[in-house]
Amino acid sequence: MFRKSFTFRGGVHPRENKFRTEHLAIESLPIPGQVVIPLLQHIGTPAEPIVRKGDRVKVGQLIGEAKKFVSVPIHASLGGIVVVVEPRPHPLGIDVLSVVIDRDETDQMPAFSKDPEWKTLSVEEMKFRILQSGIVGMGGAGFPTHVKLSPPPDKKIDRLIINGAECEPYLTSDHRMMIEQTDEILGGVRILGKILNVKEIIIGIEANKQDALKRFRKKTAGLKKIQVFVLRVKYPQGGEKQLIKAVTGREVPSGGLPMDVGCIVQNVGTAQAVYEAVCYRKPLIERVVTVTGPGVIRPGNIRVRIGTPIREIIAFCGGLAEPAAKLVHGGPMMGISQYTDTVPVIKGTSGILVLDKKTANQPPEKPCISCARCVDVCPMRLMPNRIATLVEYAQHEAARLQGLFDCMECGSCSFICPARRNLVQYIKLGKAVCTNNTKIAS
């Protein structure tokens, strides 16, 4: 049967490179001896530490309190003694206040039992459990989920979109979860649907994940409310605004949010975490991470405790292979390269990528030749060449008028540029200068 595959205008086709891990079942990492849990793993205000050096903590115990609305609590992912609370390197760059816990003999994962009455919970109770469990968007950005689920009353939400695109090359953690934890994800989807009271739930999955598509089709067969859409394989198909455009045809206005067009997008990983939070009251203390790339001896999809240093996960995967040259937190398109492997896994870590020299090294930047390929591929329909040049010559106001802040930094333009211009970096710089955010004295 012919099925239409949905997409948006623009985008690029990087080599998928998912073959290394897409057939590998999720493994669990042995419990680490020490975890480093940053108190900022989300967009918003950092959580405030409520434990001190020498305190004994249990798995799942609250260690960081959310004091503001746009913030989430942080929980211990390991039982043991708090060694120190101090700033430590963070995968997103600057040092962040972190709780370091050494494992001791008291470490035990509590038996999270299913709350038999979860189906009778009210919407507010469900949202409260999501907040208490510290759930954030698991796709990478880490926006607090309870905030996303509380749209202002004047915004009418009629569609919930579940993002199973996983368009970043190399990464397969969402893919494996969709295959192995289909029921949990669908349970989370129903909870999210109930909270938002939507008419229609759309699950979008890229066409390169046929096994996941099949499973979701089978499980949702006969359900009117939940539909499974095939998305064309293209980057950034999993971008929030691109996904909305693809499956509903609606366009989020410049400077707007998905809720402005009546949509809320949640990642499949988030749906699974929501399910565990509401039904089992389990805080977000572990997640699935894809460890891959030519620099890793034994790539895999690994379930790890939040706060596990990346070094230990790579060691579990057989260590670094000969050509290893660059360590990236996240995928190759939007991920951030790291200078140390002591950084921990955070709630938004979808992958750990070790690239070889050939892939990692960039040839030097050359002047723009005005070929307009970046204009063709920009999924936000901007002119990256123009914005970058304006930023380069400090015309920040003009760059802002060209849509500087509409850029989501997907990297399609930098990927396609034949002159190897660091277009996204210019745009990031422009944003930093415009928001007066360049003085990062640590």
Partner: protein, 289 residues
């Protein structure tokens, strides 16, 4: 006789007189009274439109002075000379102004403070700090991509051979553009009549500084010791010393011992250590910036 030429002359001439009269009236009726002092002040200003005073340009500053928005010595670039002239036009006293000069408060060049990672990207310090807080070993140190050099409107800066910028003091006007451009506040203005400054910004503990930089201040406090400098000219401010320039009487003699005793040689001396220094010189390699 054909009068057509005469008529043309009369009509055109008449129109000319009419419009001329109109313009003359308009220039009186719609005249904008501009304070003559604005033009006078503008004439004595340097005319670089650098914006260091806070006004959009020299014209704006001149108007601001007349309106009382800016002080007569508000032009840092012009220094005391311009301040005196502006004060004269305004009929006030300029007061004492010492012009400022920019200094690089970091000595951690590529040899002293090697990078901790390879950076591939645009040559702009502000862009570099957005990725993992920069590739430099010290997270307080100069990144060396020359954003200050680009920002300088007077071409008074250049990149030195070892990855640190150099201020060409004869061209520096103390406008502060480099100070605003630097993401790590390495560039700083200091009084031009002073000689010594602290060439380190690290707020780390001594051990952490030592691990990344061989010339970074370890915060030992030796320079702030009363035996080294009198009159509390240097005090410790957190993990860094601070020089109280207002207490310094002799720019070199008062601070000489501190510079000489510093175990990490973290002081900078503008113009170099004076040669008549009777002691042996532990600060051998060009400490001046």
């Amino acid at each position: 006789m054909d009068f057509s030429m005469i008529w043309a002359l009369v009509i055109m001439g008449g129109l000319g007189v009419l419009f001329g009269a109109g313009l003359a009236v308009a220039s009186r009726v719609f005249a904008i009274r501009r304070d003559s002092r604005v033009a006078q002040i503008e004439a004595v200003l340097p005319g670089a439109n650098c914006g260091a005073c806070g006004a959009p340009g020299c014209g704006g500053f001149a108007e601001g002075v007349v309106e009382g928005k800016y002080l007569v010595n508000g032009c840092t670039v012009g220094g005391s000379e311009v301040a005196r002239k502006v004060a004269e036009i305004m009929g006030t006293e300029a007061g004492d102004t010492v012009s400022a000069v920019a200094v690089v408060r970091c000595r951690g060049d590529v040899n002293a403070c090697p990078d901790r990672a390879v950076y591939q990207g645009i040559h702009d310090c502000r862009a570099a700090v957005l990725i993992d807080n920069g590739a430099k070993g010290c997270t307080y140190g100069c990144l060396g991509y020359g954003t200050c050099v680009t920002a300088c409107p007077f071409e008074a800066m250049r990149m030195g051979p070892d990855g640190l910028p150099v201020v060409i003091e004869s061209l520096c006007t103390g406008c502060g553009e480099c100070v605003r451009a630097c993401p790590r506040d390495i560039m700083e203005l200091m009084p031009r009549d002073q000689k010594v400054f602290i060439a380190c910004k690290s707020q780390d503990f001594g051990k952490a500084v030592k691990a990344v930089c061989s010339v970074g201040c370890i915060g030992c406090g030796l320079c702030a010791n009363p035996k080294t400098v009198r009159n509390e000219v240097i005090t410790m401010d957190g993990k860094l010393p601070r020089i109280h320039y207002e207490k310094v009487e002799h720019s070199w003699e008062d601070l000489k011992l501190a510079v000489v005793k510093c175990p990490t040689r973290s002081f900078g001396v503008r113009g170099g250590v004076p040669e008549e220094s009777p002691e042996e010189e532990p600060v051998s390699e060009e400490p001046a910036r």
